[in-house]
């Protein structure tokens, strides 16, 4: 009796967690012509999940039914990761193999000629937010407090990794600053040296010139 209820409880809990997945989306306004691009600086070996869909604006009583968008996702080195045309909604997922700026571009398809732009809802999850916790819960059969603490542990690890990454970036930046400092000093001395050398040359040349013209 006790175990049956506890299994039901676990199922209810899992169902709750699954059904209350939040709308993390941000809404972009696409212009009628032109591309709208969204980018993010992502490190290597990170899972990216994204979900995009067209939104029927509230004030747009009759949205053109032929309205479709196209999407292209490119990696920092220009590789095309995902390219689809004539979509109203879709998703893409990939694991990053390079560290850098990933770009997702949306544009309205050509045959939909309207003066009003479209609104796209983009739900973009990177790294720890893209992790599928329900499958982890089912696979490892954890529930309740342990499950929540496991999620928090994942979040803390992500924070720690992010902090290490920030530390490395700061070290790089510090190197560039020191180099700039040294450069400013050396190049100023070089400038002064050039100025002095050139004026000495001038003097020497003019003296020779006046000697030649028998003025001195």
């Amino acid at each position: 009796m006790g175990t049956k209820w506890s299994w039901r409880a676990i199922l209810v809990f899992i169902w709750w967690c699954a059904s209350t997945s939040t709308t993390q989306a941000i809404w972009l306004d696409l212009p009628p012509s032109g591309t709208k691009c969204v980018s993010e600086d992502i490190q290597n070996n990170v899972v990216v999940l994204a979900d995009y869909s067209l939104i029927n604006g509230q004030e747009d009583a009759h949205m053109p039914s032929g309205a479709t968008i196209s999407v292209r996702v490119t990696s920092p080195y220009g590789n095309n990761l995902h390219h689809k045309e004539n979509m109203t909604h879709g998703q893409f997922a990939f694991t990053t193999s390079e560290s850098g700026n990933y770009l997702a571009c949306f544009w309205v398809d050509g045959h939909h000629q309207g003066t009003k732009g479209l609104t796209v809802s983009l739900d973009w999850r990177i790294g720890i937010a893209a992790k599928d916790w329900e499958s982890v819960a089912k696979k490892e059969k954890i529930e309740g407090v342990e499950f929540e603490l496991r999620k928090l542990e994942g979040a803390v690890e992500a924070i720690h990794e992010n902090l290490i990454y920030l530390k490395n970036r700061e070290a790089d930046m510090r190197e560039v600053s020191e180099k700039t400092n040294a450069r400013v000093a050396w190049f100023s001395i070089m400038s002064i040296g050039v100025c002095i050398a050139v004026s000495i040359l001038q003097l020497w040349y003019l003296k020779r010139f006046f000697h030649k013209k028998k003025l001195i």
Binding site: W5, S6, R8, A9, V12, F13, W16, C17, T20, S21, T22, T23, Q24, I26, W27, D29, C37, V38, S39, E40, D41, N101, T119, L122, W124, I126, A129, E143, G144, V145, E148, L149, L152, A155, I159, N162, L163, L166, R169, E170, D172, M173, V176, S177, K179, T180, R183, V184, F187, S188, M190, S191, V194, V198, S199, L201, Q202, L206, F209, L215
Partner: protein
């Protein structure tokens, strides 16, 4: 031990404490509006933006943007002018679609890193009678919200670092360019001087010795 009402309480508590966070970068031309849905009234909305770079050739003008936050009914919640970096939080008075509009006053394109996070307040199920577990869930919920806040701050810090890294690189290049141009200008000015003096004396000598 895992009694049904306890799990139900946990489910209700944790289902409400789920935080949404979004971080994107985009290039702004003149004006750009983004919308985000706030699901529950009374949520705390944290918003931050950093101008990563401006495409101006010499980067000596102040590159700031304006941000106007409008609520679901179109009422203005907050606005800032000419900032390169800003963090703000407010409590959502109504639930619905909040609009964040950026305006770029400088003639150059700017890249903006924008982050918004909505933190729900945990609703506690009044029917839970088990006081033994409730403080534990409270603390876990608070911990979760604190961790999401840390992630939000880290995202902002990373964006600020990116901006400073770009500024530093530009400064390094600028120092070298300045020194080279200065040397070239000095050499050019002295060659011009010599040439003019030569011409002057040759003419004077030419006229006086005739």
């Amino acid at each position: 031990m895992l009694r049904f009402p306890t799990i139900l309480t946990a489910a209700v508590v944790f289902s409400f404490l789920i935080t949404e966070a979004v971080g994107i970068r985009f290039v702004i031309d003149r004006e750009e509006c983004l919308s985000h849905n706030v699901e529950y009234e009374g949520d705390t909305v944290h918003v931050s933006f950093v101008v990563i770079k401006a495409e101006s050739p010499w980067h000596f003008s102040q590159d700031g943007v304006d941000l106007v936050i409008k609520g679901p009914g179109g009422e203005q919640v907050h606005d800032v002018h000419d900032r390169t970096s800003e963090r703000y939080e407010f409590m959502a008075q109504k639930k619905g679609l909040f609009q964040f509009c950026f305006t770029n006053k400088s003639p150059y394109h700017e890249t903006i890193d924008f982050d918004v996070q909505v933190g729900h307040f945990a609703y506690y199920d009044q029917h839970a009678k088990d006081e033994h577990f409730k403080p534990l869930f409270d603390q876990i919920a608070k911990l979760e919200e604190a961790l999401y806040n840390i992630q939000f701050e880290q995202h902002w810090l990373q964006a600020e670092n990116d901006r400073q890294a770009l500024v530093n690189e530009k400064m390094g290049r600028r120092a070298v360019h300045k020194a080279l141009i200065e040397s070239a200008a000095l050499i050019g000015a002295s060659v011009l001087q010599v040439y003019l003096l030569q011409r002057l004396f040759e003419r004077k000598l030419g006229t006086s010795r005739v």
